[in-house]
Symmetry: C2
Subunit: 351 residues, 2 copies
């Protein structure tokens, strides 16, 4: 039961602790690639779909790319296992919803993964805690090269890498950062940030990327256009413009809260802490909201008796699939809410 083991502990990057991770939870780069000689997935036959899987698995499993990888065949695991992978950000909901031969290879530390037959034949992803775009770029570039040594990518000398969706043609790169912006949300300044992001041609999404709504205090922002810009240009824009700007906005609002509205801030933070330590039944949405406030409280030094690692771990393991894996049995919504509340109280030393 590989996935049962997986669910039991947070992977290294999920534990947090990267640079600036009080605001930028994680950075991620993904590359979209397809194999030459095979049609895009919308036109592929079942046999070809399976051939694509085998081709990629041979290349990754054969240690052709270094490190130890594990492959999960999405057709052979159940809904709960798939959901665990989504909750860990190892696969997208789209890969779950897709049909036929498909899966994911991921490095043991979960910082790198290759989704097979999602929207493109390959979706290569590297993710790390906090702001680490340069390291990520170096790693994903190397990984991409090693893969390419054994796989013939669909590439056009003029357009670049060919992808199923035109928005990815060219470099096939998407850079994204997962943000925790509780102060901008609390003061209502988040709207300004949304407008600024739009002006910079950035997409704003929810915690699980494409197709998920930006709710609560967590936002994923990513570049929208790939054609006509080099990978370095996209990354540089994030590194020198997008990320510093967001950090400045949120830091400014946090300082303003501490200075001008410390009571409102503490009220928010401590009430959430109180709710987590006392609730007997709690939904994942409410948990997320309170953990977000608690996280802000710890980052601003208002709460000192909980550490961030505990909060990061709770974010992960209170999600529905993880909760059921940890509990060892299927649970309905009502049961989950009770078990979730108990788990949180135990971890936070509640009543």
């Amino acid at each position: 039961m590989k996935i049962d083991e997986l669910a039991r502990k947070p992977g290294p990057w999920l534990r947090g602790g990267g640079p600036m991770s009080d605001i930028v939870i994680s950075s991620r780069i993904r590359l979209a690639r397809n194999i030459a000689g095979y049609p895009f997935l919308s036109k592929v036959s079942d046999e070809q779909r399976t051939e694509v899987v085998n081709l990629i698995r041979r290349r990754v499993d054969g240690e052709g790319v270094g490190r130890k990888w594990r492959y999960v065949d999405l057709e052979r695991v159940d809904e709960l296992d798939r959901q665990v992978l989504v909750e860990r950000h190892l696969i997208s909901r789209q890969l779950v919803d897709a049909r036929g031969a498909r899966g994911v290879s991921f490095a043991k530390d979960e910082s790198a993964s290759v989704m097979v037959n999602e929207e493109d034949h390959l979706r290569i992803q590297v993710v790390r805690s906090g702001v680490q775009l340069e390291d990520i770029w170096e790693e994903i570039n190397r990984l991409d090269d090693r893969l390419e040594e054994g796989i013939d990518y669909a590439f056009h000398p003029r357009y670049g890498y060919l992808t199923a969706c035109p928005t990815n043609v060219g470099t096939g790169i998407r850079v994204s950062v997962m943000l925790h912006l509780p102060a901008l949300k609390l003061t209502g300044e988040i709207e300004k940030f949304f407008r600024a992001a739009k002006d910079m041609h950035l997409a704003i999404r929810g915690l699980f990327g494409e197709g998920t709504e930006a709710t609560g205090d967590f936002f994923q922002i990513s570049n929208q256009v790939t054609l006509g810009r080099t990978e370095e240009e996209v990354i540089d824009a994030f590194k020198h413009d997008v990320i510093p700007r967001i950090i400045k906005y949120e830091t400014q609002e946090r300082k303003r809260l501490v200075k001008e509205r410390p009571l409102a801030l503490d009220d928010r933070v401590w009430r959430s802490y109180g709710a987590l330590r006392n609730a007997r039944t709690i939904s994942s949405e409410e948990t997320m909201l309170h953990l977000s406030h608690l996280r802000m409280g710890i980052n601003l030094g208002r709460i000192k008796d909980v550490d961030l690692t505990t909060v990061n771990e709770l974010f992960l393991i209170t999600q529905p699939a993880h909760l059921q894996k940890l509990n060892g049995s299927r649970l309905n919504g009502e049961q989950r809410s009770a078990i979730r509340a108990e788990l949180i109280r135990r971890r936070l030393g509640g009543h």
Copy 2:
């Protein structure tokens, strides 16, 4: 500064502890009386109004009724002092809103009071914690007799005591009980109780009697008709029918909650406890709500580290006027909410 001292501690009956006080917070009897030879207050002259005050004060202060009484001249104290008296249930809002010479005499332990020139010349009241109607009746009867020895009451051989409002004519008695019905409220069964009360010709009001809405988990119920029934009949109906029925309803719902929905019950109770121990700013309405849940939690043995005396005291001192008296200065709403939260956290050992 008599009233400053008063505000600093809860009077004996406000500390609770009477029989059945987990459900019946207090019982009260009041008698409406007028002085013969003086018009009702709607027609009285300023001079007569003052004469009425003097007549009653002479009778009460002269120890004509036993015990030590203190008189507060409502014209000579400020709005905050008046509000303290309302919050302690020593006077009604109507007495505050009335005009001209008026006041209240009350016994040192606050269990007996005589409002002068409220709706009638005299409103005699005796109140005790829990269910104690017999003792109250005995006491108020004696008090009424002692007053009558020195005051000539307006009395008609056929109609009985004459009062400003026809609903009080006859015995002038109103029996009321203050109820804490959190379980009936939580399960929604309170509506049934309302209907039953209506069938029994009872009025349901809020925490501060006439003109206040029944909100939260606290309700005051009282008889509506006085004419054609003796005092003993009215009291007997409460003692043998109304009160036992309410206690049965609420007890039943509490037992059902403990047995069938312990999680929902504990969630409610502990979240409220958590909010009280963690909030940095809290309104009186929210305080009342959480204290109500906490009170239920203690009474049902779900919370063991707080005692009822603390909760009863918090009900009293977190009210706006008491809070300002305790703080020693006038506070606006925002300041009150912050001071209130701090006070509660200190008393409940919160964070």
